[in-house]
Symmetry: D2
Subunit: 334 residues, 4 copies
């Protein structure tokens, strides 16, 4: 039985509380938030649950085995460090930290303390991503030639981080989960339409030594909501459209032929080469899977799916992207 | 009555012949193609029409007022130059030429000879683009903050030019048609999955001194066909989806607010801020409008919509993009 | 302050409890259900809330002002009658009762006792239906010529009522809400693919003396989920697609012309005659509006939107449809 | 080599001429139309082709082997009869004739004269219908429980026949092609919004002794164009959406279970039970297949796919439907 404390009862914290509250093999011991209004709202929904506005008390309490951190990014490092120093396992919201330096320090500390350090990249636990991962590992998709992601909508502009730090962690973590290839450089270009200079539109490219290229289109300023990823293998191509209620993943039996043929009529009319297969997906809530993986990784001392390695890679990409944006799209070697 | 010769009876040449054949105020005098098979196919459809495999004869014939060039890009410069030197008006397929140098030479020659030099950027004559242009000029859209274009499908890989030279002219010409802003630099990144090293996937960014950013996602390797452009103004945002049979243009009454508000639930559930308006569009064939504009510009000595200025800007962007791709995405000043 | 008891804590009862629990101007006094497991599940979510497995105690308790009945259809009459006899206001789930006779008896009783009798046709409180109603009342849509509804999905076959009793109340109540016309007859045809003979697919037509026709396609056996209603006026036509996340209501500026013209090409290519307008809709939960209307109707002694008149008309149609189905689609006069 | 004459150069006649003109194993001998303007338009496209405004000359000409009739429905019988009496094979546009009596007389005559009598139900030759037919015959779909068809759009109101005679032949012929079951009765209800009393909206049901039910929703008054057919088998269900450019046929691995289970949450969230398969379809023009089948059936003396049996069944259904509509939806035994 893992005794868990959650720090932060904001938007995502509510979902974490709901999930850990009913999860087996763990007890939600307490919830901490500096804002008493939020704790009141917690009380009305979970009258029996402990809560505190004294965050430091969490670290001092020897009863607590693990801490879940759902606070703004810039606080992740400090809170996770305190928790690890206090000998607790840590699950931190994505992105892991605000810098690579912070992430590496936490990782080293976790290893020294032999504690689990995990990042909540929830999307890795969706039925869609699990299915795609399975197809790739089974060799059905072949060598992956490109990942092309669009995650745009009319979103809330954040005050502290740009649109890449907000939206790209989802897709970049999926990218690292699906392929073993590592990019050698990143490039990003963005624009801010607000006075604070924080980019609300940004484009990110990951460059690889292999045949792979990965591109991410992120925006808070689109009138339509698009959450779409194309994964192009040399055997199959996959369209992952997260806005589709039931047909999120479509697998195309589609090669493409090099041809200097002049007449393009046929290919234009009939650009599909084979059948399409739309697999049935698991519909369990992804966050439940993530929470369960955290508890299970602690109990069985195994590595969770959304481990610190992926978390670190994501922060490296985001940091590199920030440098690149400030240098007007200059290539930044990782 | 403008007497017209068309050079090249390939895929697009067929459409040009069909349109100029029935256009008022002009006569389709002859069609030239080096391939006798194509001329045979022309004969079977238009038994009364002149045709020739001797392209040089076109330039020598004093009867011919104007020449339409629908041949591969690398031949545009030579053929257009000969036609201009022979004192003929010229309509050339997009992109205008294979280099800026060639384009500028043609433009200078046309001015010296007082002949029309026009580029066939057909999309500028679609009901959709005409309507969007009209809304922008009427001030309905406000200041344009971004143009985000995706033109991907499972296409025929071309042997001589990369995917940007093939697909981007459509969207880049629309971009220059809709905004008066001029980019100061371009950046592009691409990848080739074939031995000839010609990029089949590429991403292009235009950077402006204003609040505008323009991004173009082009691919011959997508299992799904997407032709979508988002035009974000500070008053309205427009979604132009060319795959929609009847609802190609949607106009969103959508501002976005800068807000440091923590709770994102509301915005996620209800990200639309106003009504959507889907205007009825002209459904005339765009190519008919382009051909008519060419004839009319000759007869009335006015500037056509798809003029050499746009044609030149497009070639500048494509040339800059090629340099940038070879330099691994380095920013290239225009 | 209206003191409310809810009978039935099944699928819909849970939503009713959640809404009445947080509604102003009323107190959720208690929840009754014969099944102790359900009451336990209630306790875990609402620890402070009263509950009872003794349904009769509700009627005896003079503290309770109003009873909400969310039990299977065949029990509505008995429970509502007891509540009215005990001098309580009644809100009953749709459809109101299992027969017209039962409905009329309840209505008479409610009038005698001067108590509110209301039916929960939740859809009348959706932003979509409210907007359509508003447009029709403002004269924008003109005379309504047809209502064509499709509500099909892969649904749970019910053991006691056929697909019309399960699905049609939504659309039939909307139909009566949007038009003042009254059908003079109904016809229905259905088929059962199960041994119990309960129809899982059925088609229902309402016939009017006016120019209106209304048709309802209901099925539990469709692999795709469709919830779509076309409302054709002589000024505008409306497409109400409840599966669309944000564009549920589209208004078409579309007349149609009587024309003996032989050439159909043009109309086939361009069948839209005007613009499309997609209004922004209220996104409040419909059930909250319904619950609030119930409480408000009690306090202000006004007629609620989803009143017994609509409830009775719906039961008349359903009863007529059942007769028609058994008589193989014979027309049944209402 | 079959020598063919086409009577009628209207909307559909143009497509027939285009197809028979380039078809192997036959010669398009002449085209007849009473309207000289149409013949002029024919001349401009096919300068070498014979044409005549004297329709009777077709029947007298012993050179002509087969006659294709593409004239209004009410003329089919007279023209086809003359052609058969003159010893010519006949292909007639759908629907075959304006009455069952006429159809039966033609059939008898064709048999007496040993000539082919075929009806152009083009949809039977689409890649979509061919694929569905193949799946059903291979037993993949199982026993067919329902066919539910919607064919609605903003169409041209016809002056002589109602919407069922115009639109339903497509879907009814597909229905007879896909299943061997024969309906014992039809029912139809319609409404006319024009002074001539011709129904522009109609609903048609075919009743079977088996577990099958077939329903057809036809309208010229819908603001949206829908061409959709659901085919529900007890093993698989098929969605045939003819408006989809590339994914016209989707096959659902979807059974449905009889269950008295009270909690409907799960089924609502997850109503799909298995995978979806979207087969690649043949993209040849259906009309080419139909024309080729006509020529081949003459030459090889075999039965074509779209034979007179299907043609007759369709006319029987249409005639029965007309009787039913006039009798306010009364069941009409076939």
């Amino acid at each position: 039985m893992v005794k868990i404390a959650i720090i932060g009862y904001g938007y995502w914290g509510k979902n974490l509380v709901r999930n850990f509250f009913s999860l087996p093999h763990c007890t939600l011991y307490t919830v901490a938030d500096a804002d008493p209004k939020r704790l009141q709202s917690l009380k009305s929904l979970y009258p029996g649950l402990n809560s505190t506005s004294d965050i430091e008390s969490i670290f001092k309490n020897p009863e607590i085995d693990a801490v879940v951190i759902a606070t703004p990014v810039f606080t992740h490092y400090t809170l996770a460090k305190k928790a690890l120093l206090a000998g607790k396992h840590v699950l931190v919201e994505k992105p892991m930290t605000a810098s690579v330096k912070e992430a590496e320090e936490l990782i080293e500390l976790a290893q020294k303390k032999s504690k689990l350090l995990m990042v909540d990249h929830t999307f890795l636990y969706t039925g869609a991503v699990e299915r795609i991962k399975h197809m790739i590992e089974a060799g059905e998709v072949g060598k992956i030639n490109y990942i092309d992601s669009t995650r745009i909508n009319l979103g809330l502009f954040q005050a502290d981080v740009n649109v890449l730090w907000d939206l790209a962690p989802h897709d970049v973590s999926i990218c690292f989960h699906l392929t073993k290839d590592l990019p050698y450089s990143v490039q990003a270009r963005g624009i801010s339409h607000t006075k604070n200079g924080i980019e609300n539109i940004a484009y990110l490219t990951l460059n690889y030594q292999t045949s792979l290229i990965a591109h991410f289109n992120c925006s808070w300023s689109s009138p339509v909501k698009i959450r779409q990823m194309l994964i192009g293998g040399d055997r199959k191509m996959i369209l992952y459209n997260d806005m589709e209620p039931t047909e999120k993943v479509k697998v195309y039996d589609t090669g493409f032929e090099v041809n200097s043929h002049e007449d393009r009529t046929k290919i234009i009319v009939d650009y599909r080469i084979g059948d399409i297969y739309t697999p049935k997906l698991q519909t369990n809530e992804a966050l439940t899977g993530m929470a369960g993986d955290f508890v299970n990784a602690i109990l069985s001392e195994t590595e969770p799916v959304s481990n610190w390695k992926i978390g670190l890679k994501v922060v490296k990409v985001l940091e590199g992207a920030s440098v690149s944006i400030k240098a007007k799209g200059k290539e930044v070697t990782l």
